[in-house]
């Protein structure tokens, strides 16, 4: 039996990699992929706690997180396509219309 702390540390490492990716990348699609990475790491933590507490609630929550991630990916990618049509770029530094 693997100590469940290992899974939590792996989840933390993946979350941090995703967060760093959101901060350092300029391509909107790659930023989006990093957000998916962070969602995946949270899923891993949910499944770990579900295993530790002998409960199914964590796995049901992962199911709903996947639903929300699918909806988010569809809408987000549609927004990226709409932005690309207007500005012909997906570089987030060039998309600064709402910048004060």
């Amino acid at each position: 039996m693997i100590p469940l702390t290992w899974y939590l540390i792996l989840s933390g490492i993946l979350f941090s990699i995703g967060a760093v990716g959101v901060l350092i990348r300029r391509n909107a699609i790659v930023i989006f992929m990093c957000i998916e990475l962070m969602l995946n790491s949270v899923n891993l933590a949910f499944v770990t706690f579900s295993r530790q507490l002998d409960s199914m609630d964590g796995q049901i929550f992962v199911f709903f997180i996947m639903t929300v991630a699918a909806a988010e990916a569809a809408v987000g990618l549609a927004i990226i396509i709409a932005v690309y049509r207007n500005k012909a770029t997906v570089n987030v530094d060039d998309i600064n219309l709402m910048k004060w």
């Binding site: 990699i17 967060a19 760093v20 300029r26 409960s55």
Partner: protein, 178 residues
């Protein structure tokens, strides 16, 4: 022992692929590495006795969502210069982001090692789950205890479909008016 070895191999693959997602220049390579990250996470879910979650991880995430990403990357057809504008508008952003990320890793590691997690134990031990069946149990819970979130999720997906169509089709509608 074998379980720990498998965990170490899969987790190192996951971490290396996640780093490649962030540091690859070309978005299509990032997408491929993200697919590998998700598949190795599915193996970890099986180690945690969550077979149904592992299956939908491969089907929904690695299958559906990543295909959507790759479609969009190919649809936009970014030029070489567009792929990654190397100019840094904000000074020290990369280095400070990496330092903050390392601090975050250390913090999460310390918290998860030091904390003694305790909670009310549920009734579903791996033995009883294997007796009922993982998928059957999730299905039963979805239609009894979690039936309201389940219905809300269907409304959310419906709204997302309409939103995606409206956002992505805008230009074509304008063309038809002209």
């Amino acid at each position: 022992m074998l379980e720990a070895l498998l965990f170490l191999i899969m987790s190192s693959i996951t971490i290396v692929c996640a780093l490649c997602v962030v540091f690859q220049k070309n978005p299509i390579y990032s997408a491929i590495f993200l697919i590998q990250t998700m598949v190795s996470l599915a193996v970890l879910y099986i180690l945690l006795h969550a077979q149904f979650i592992a299956a939908i991880q491969v089907m929904v995430y690695a299958g559906a969502i990543m295909v959507l990403f790759i479609f969009v990357i190919m649809l936009l057809n970014l030029s070489k210069a567009d792929v990654e504008g190397e100019r840094d508008n904000l000074l020290f952003q990369k280095s400070s982001a990496i330092i903050l990320g390392l601090i975050l890793v250390v913090m999460i590691g310390v918290v998860s090692v030091k904390t003694i997690f305790q909670g009310v134990k549920g009734e579903y031990t791996p033995e009883s789950i294997s007796h009922i069946g993982n998928t059957q149990l999730i299905g039963k819970l979805l239609f009894t205890k979690f039936v309201f979130p389940f219905e809300i999720a269907s409304i959310l997906l419906f709204a997302a479909i309409i939103g995606a169509i409206v956002l992505a089709k805008k230009k074509i509608i304008e063309d038809e008016k002209v």
